[in-house]
């Protein structure tokens, strides 16, 4: 474990954070968790969420430092401020966890997700799908006479919006990676 980095930005430690700690309102936070890429580390993180009844909205993980065998887990979770603080503290307790950063309260961040969407259709619907894809800057990565696979990256709500538009136009399958996120600036 790291000495937990909860001072920075966490709801109870930041002087600038005006959120009500007693609030029962649910908040969605994006956490970046840097871990040793050792066997079972993902099971530990997931086991923590399931064992203690926390939500995982999305989770991505990959080794980001091959030499140092470090992986970055980006987890989006929802809970009251108190629960979010507990999640961060509990994550910080896991031995192979180095740092826990709450990108939602530690200043602006960029959040991106990759999605693949399969849309089937003919005629006008097919043309409309293609036109919308252009507006959303989605790429066609596969096509047959009756289908497209679109690839798009963006913030999750942008992907949601695109998927909503595609649904009546023949969206039959969607694969999403979950959010990857970095703090802006240095």
């Amino acid at each position: 474990m790291s000495p937990l980095k909860i001072q920075q930005g966490s709801s109870k430690h930041s002087a600038y954070d005006l959120r009500d700690p007693y609030s029962e309102v649910l908040e969605t936070h994006t956490l970046a968790v840097l871990v040793d890429n050792e066997p079972g580390v993902l099971a530990r993180v997931i086991g923590l969420f399931s064992g203690r009844g926390y939500n995982i909205d999305s989770l991505t993980v990959a080794e980001t430092d091959h030499q140092g065998h470090r992986s970055r887990i980006t987890v989006v979770t929802t809970g009251t401020p108190q629960v979010i603080d507990q999640i961060k503290a509990q994550l910080g307790r896991i031995v192979p966890v180095h740092t826990v950063n709450d990108l939602t309260v530690e200043g602006p961040s960029v959040q991106r997700e990759l999605a693949l969407l399969k849309v089937t259709g003919k005629g006008d619907a097919r043309i409309e799908a293609l036109r919308l894809a252009e507006i959303f800057r989605a790429n066609v990565v596969d096509s047959t006479l009756e289908s497209f696979v679109f690839e798009m990256t963006g913030a999750p709500d942008k992907i949601d919006a695109f998927a909503d538009l595609m649904r009546p136009l023949g969206l039959i399958e969607i694969a999403r990676t979950g959010v990857a996120a970095l703090a802006r600036g240095v």
Partner: protein, 584 residues
Amino acid sequence: MSQQMTGAKMVVQALKEQGVEVVFGYPGGAVLPIYDEIFQQNEIRHILVRHEQGAAHAAEGYARATGKPGVVLVTSGPGATNAVTGITDALMDSIPLVVLSGQVPTFLIGNDAFQEADTVGITRPCTKHNWLVKDPNKLAETIHQAFHVATSGRPGPVLVDIPKDVQFATGTYLPPKKARTDHYAPRVKGDIEAITALVEMMETAERPVLYTGGGVINSGPGASQLLCELAEATGFPVTSTLMGLGAYPASGRNWIGMLGMHGTYEANMTMHDCDLMIAVGARFDDRITGRVNAFSPNSRKAHIDIDPSSINKVIRVDVPIVGDVGHVLEDLLKIWKSRGRKSNREGIESWWKRIAEWRAIDCLSFKPSKDTIKPQHALQRLEALTRDMDRYITTEVGQHQMWAAQFLGFDAPNRWMTSGGLGTMGYGLPASIGVQIAHPDALVINVAGEASWLMNMQEMGTAVQYRAPVKQFILNNERLGMVRQWQELLHGERYSHSWSEALPDFVKLAEAFGCKGIKCDHPDDLDEAIREMLAYDGPVIFDCLVEKHENCFPMIPSGNAHNQMILGEAETQGVIGQSGAVLV
């Protein structure tokens, strides 16, 4: 420097270099190479238990009584799964354990091989950390890391799973100094600003209380001493959780007794009405808080804990201080002294007057009896006859445990071992053996209930084999007393399966094990029987037949607040409401 040796030899070498003197274990196919190495040396003593759960509890007892990590060695599959309850118990009570388990050879892992179990998978949620070692060159380092993790920060159990081929293979041994452990370095010094903020509150508080827990004991004897100094210097009353008993002496001036569900009236009222609560190494467990939204409503709260996740988990506090209790108390005292040792003398004086009024209720009083032994009376006599001895107490789980906490006094840390967090029946007997192995000449008593005691009674064989003169003081009510009490309060006196039927004859059982049995069923014979137990140079099973329907009071019924304690039988009707009934 680097030495080549087999994995099995490395295990023993690493244990030696970690200063291990005793291992509690049980052999089997997957750990035979390690047992072979144990056979060929004399530095490390191996205690053969009778069940792996017993090994884990014995190691817990050893750890709690010495402050050193307990070491357990078990085989793969059933050996490891049998240890799981003990490991979980250690996790809940923050006891440092290093568990070494054998595993099927690496090339068979995942094949459902004979005696294969996914031991790291099974123990992941019940250890602080665990490792499966597939490379003999990493084995020694992993074991050193295991000791480091188990004993630093908030202590806890760790497990190292060692496949049999790794035990046979040759690799490079790494001494403890060369093992990388820097990555895990929990913070021990508290934030000075926060400590100063607490001191400021202490200077003006009118109704302060020190609420202490197992963290004080885990922090080492120095922390207990600092706590005493703080209490004496400030005049603040001190209460403690079940886990923290002994950190502040029960004979101390400021002691107001244990708090919580079966704590004293004065301790719980003090908590409820205080204006400054200082939680020291305690974690606001549900046995302590009662109804959370009615918990100490008018106080400001500070919380000293080495585990950041304990802070604001249950109760939101005003001053969180992450750090080791000993370090923080040292700084706290320094700052308080440097600012002129101020406290609100007048306020505290009248606070003590109120506490005296609560104390006058005499919440632990019970109806004495001339012809049946009241369990409380049995403990009062045990206390009177052993208080001045070099004494260690373990307990099982149930009413007897709560009475032991209420009626036995502890003046020093590490002398009271009980299963608090998990509440594991079957803990006390093996734990008492672990304590006795650590302190061969001390008096070690397990205050037991007959039902709990039966859960690991096979360990009597261990006690006899190693001549561990543990005294098993069984308060035999022929009932699952605590269950019966809840059924009386909560389930319309329908005593579903809370009888201990077909109990063994404990005296004959003692004879069968080759130790001494004593039976006592009359108050007039009690003192003499206890003296006989104490005088006997060997393990004793003491069957103390007590009142069968005694209830443990005082009690905060589930779902109630600290100031809604019930003090005795007359107040028990309908005390637990619908919402309380779902709580355990």
